[in-house]
């Protein structure tokens, strides 16, 4: 595992990152640093580039120029990072909007697959860790079931356990509650809240403003691919400085 010598050195460092989709400039000169243990929430309208931003951090999206360093590993533009990328993905967990559980594997096997194949753990070790994590997210009694037999909220908690099984140094959340029925959002947010309390470094893209206000150390507002404003939650929600932030918040907080 890569450990930074300096414990307060940022775990994520993005410098002047630019990304284009054809003629569309999706990320513009992104500068972002995330410290260990920090919880950063990214907000913004759909299509603003917030998902793209976090997907660049674990190389699911390529960027065209700039600098991304994650836990001492450097990502290069145009997706040519090779081993560094592999290493980053091993240390960075991700939870997706659509859960993306493996439907052909039981809940338990979903969680044990990567530790066994990537970390080389024995089945016994992987199962022990998986059971502990499933217990922690409140689904230990469903380990033998298949994902399709679970509710959306349960599936997303399995996805969280699956990512945590790799013992990541950083967790990325890409709208983790957007595909859930309203009554299931709470259970997923609770599990994330717990994780934040334990000191996990997290970058969360979400539309849950109440949750953002409560758990975030810092909130970033993205507007058309640019970081328009970043500040502690009280500051950004109560006295936003940027006109664009104000008008966005006025729209989403109205209801």
């Amino acid at each position: 595992m890569t450990q930074n010598e300096n414990p307060t050195a940022p775990i994520v460092r993005m410098e002047k990152v630019n990304k284009h989709f054809g003629s569309l400039h999706v990320l513009k000169e992104i500068d972002l640093q995330v410290a260990p243990g920090e919880v950063v929430v990214v907000i913004g309208a759909s299509g603003s580039g917030k998902s793209t931003l976090i997907r660049c951090i674990n190389g699911l999206e390529e960027f065209q120029d700039g600098h991304i360093e994650v836990d001492g590993n450097e990502l290069t533009p145009h997706g040519k990072s090779g081993r560094a990328l592999q290493k980053i993905r091993t240390e960075v967990g991700m939870v997706f909007q659509q859960f993306n559980l493996f439907p052909h594997l039981s809940v338990l096997d979903n969680v044990t697959l990567a530790p066994m194949k990537v970390r080389g753990w024995s089945r016994a070790d992987a199962v022990e860790t998986a059971e502990r994590l499933l217990e922690r997210v409140g689904i230990s009694d469903q380990a033998a079931k298949y994902p399709s037999q679970l509710s959306g909220g349960q599936q997303q908690r399995v996805a969280l356990a699956r990512a945590l099984a790799m013992e990541p140094r950083l967790m990325l959340f890409d709208e983790p509650t957007s595909a859930l029925d309203p009554e299931m959002i709470g259970e997923v947010l609770d599990a994330m809240r717990e994780l934040a309390r334990e000191g996990m470094t997290m970058i969360i893209v979400t539309h849950e403003m109440g949750f953002a206000r409560e758990v975030a150390d810092r909130v970033i507002y993205i507007h058309k691919g640019e970081i328009a404003e970043q500040a502690p939650p009280e500051k950004i929600f109560d006295t936003p400085e940027d006109e664009r932030t104000r008008s966005f918040l006025a729209r989403v907080l109205k209801h």
């Binding site: 674990n58 592999q86 993905r89 993306n100 594997l105 697959l113 996805a159």
Partner: protein
């Protein structure tokens, strides 16, 4: 004037022992050819979706050529044409198996391609985000799911190929139709014999359908 035509059940039943020796040949050509065709299909199907043009192009050419020409022409080409190139004869059984292999291989390539491409992008992204290599993602996540989706179209192809072997009577392989023709030549009971031949194909293809339905039922757990 009264025309009566009698279906002679006795003649039909009498033909059975003469037709049965065709079944092992039909099965050997079908399943031998399909087994090789499956391997061809995996290789060319994956080449077909490779990011490399160098791999994609030969796969496209192969698939288009063998899907776009009749299997009868293919087997005649292999049995009568290839020996002129190779300088030695090819036996009819080998030619039959080879024809089923290259023909079903082209269709199975498309089945493999469709199966793999039908798996949601999120499956690959989730695998990669967990640190699995591309090869591991394919082997443990994409392929097992793709294969399950491939079972019904593979079954279809199996049934088509079994029936295609009936054309190989033209190169003299002793499969079902050929056995029927030989028997009819001495008894002139075409109606009864071809009826029995048809029944035997039906028995084979229907057994395969049932088997596949079972496989599908079991394979689809957790989908």
């Amino acid at each position: 004037m009264e025309v009566t035509f009698q279906f002679d059940w006795a003649a039909a039943f009498r033909s059975i022992p003469h037709l049965l020796p065709g079944i092992p040949w039909t099965l050997l050509i079908s399943f031998g050819g399909l087994a090789i065709g499956f391997i061809i299909g995996i290789v060319f199907g994956l080449m077909r979706i490779s990011p490399s043009r160098l791999l994609r192009l030969p796969a496209i050419v192969y698939i288009e050529v063998f899907r776009g020409t009749p299997i009868l022409v293919q087997v005649l080409f292999i049995f009568y044409g290839l020996p002129q190139l190779l300088g030695g004869p090819i036996n009819a059984l080998t030619a039959g198996i080879a024809a089923i292999a290259v023909n079903s291989g082209a269709y199975i390539s498309e089945v493999v391609r469709g199966g793999v491409q039908s798996i949601e992008r999120g499956q690959r992204e989730a695998s990669l985000s967990l640190g699995l290599s591309r090869t591991q993602a394919f082997r443990y996540v994409i392929w097992p799911q793709a294969f399950r989706r491939m079972i019904p179209p593979l079954g279809n192809q199996g049934i088509i190929s079994i029936k295609d072997t009936s054309l190989f009577s033209v190169i003299g392989v002793g499969e079902l139709v050929r056995q029927g023709q030989i028997y009819i030549a001495t008894t002139f009971t075409a109606l009864e014999v071809y009826f029995m031949v048809a029944l035997m194909y039906l028995a084979i293809t229907w057994s395969l359908s049932l088997l596949l339905r079972q496989l599908e039922k079991r394979g689809l757990v957790g989908q």
